[in-house]
Symmetry: C2
Subunit: 139 residues, 2 copies
């Protein structure tokens, strides 16, 4: 693995590590100030502060005891200072809004990163749940 | 709107125009040969050929008479030769695998583009359905 692939991969793993510590200060620091994030139900957060507040809320509720596992990371570089990292993940230990335990679910997270002053920051993220056995959204 | 924003926005609108003509040759030409695409249920296509074949199949079946409307496009440039375009969309006229009409659905499409020889091509796309009224995936 090249140094730059390793650096980007480390940010993806840090995403999961901060999630699993439920440390939303450290989580937010992975993002550039003007980063955007679309979650699995299409909520679109604009800026690090919105991303942080949304995750503080879910990590006090639905995701309080959840554990996120990154199962693989694929990294590409359209130019030297921009990276596209796509990861499959599994989430366990999350609960419904009423507090009921939910089964594990899996998804794919796209993260776009930019390198500035030698540091890779997340500038964009979009998350999609995996729904097995269908070509498009069942309704 | 700057020229470069207009150029990128035009590619996003071409995505919908090709979809609505169900012209998967023209659709595929919007993508770079090594583009990747994750659809709303987490199917991960690698390369223009896989993207084309997958859409040829769905446009012969589920999406045969569907119409995709891009309702807004937001464009950012991490560097001059890379663009991140995020769009809200509405899909109508699609059917279930059994051919039954389905109600309109909405989502958010993230497209990453790179400019090469003056032409913007899609190098990555990830799509997420909007599910109203929830913070995370209902189960």
């Amino acid at each position: 693995m090249s140094d730059t692939v390793a650096e980007v991969t480390q940010v993806v793993h840090a995403f999961a590590e901060c999630w699993n510590r439920h440390d939303m200060n450290a989580f937010a620091e992975l993002f550039a100030p003007d980063a955007e994030f679309v979650n699995v139900v299409g909520l679109w957060w604009k800026g690090r502060d919105e991303i942080k507040k949304a995750h503080e809320f879910t990590h006090a509720t639905l995701f309080k005891n959840s554990r996120l596992t990154i199962t693989d990371v694929s990294v590409r570089f359209p130019v030297a200072s921009v990276a596209i990292a796509r990861s499959r993940w599994v989430l366990e230990g999350h609960v419904s809004p009423e507090g009921a335990p939910l089964p594990p679910r899996a998804g794919i997270l796209l993260i776009v990163l930019a390198r500035s002053s030698g540091v890779w920051s997340i500038i964009d993220a979009q998350n999609t749940d995996i729904i097995e056995g269908v070509l498009s959204r069942p309704q």
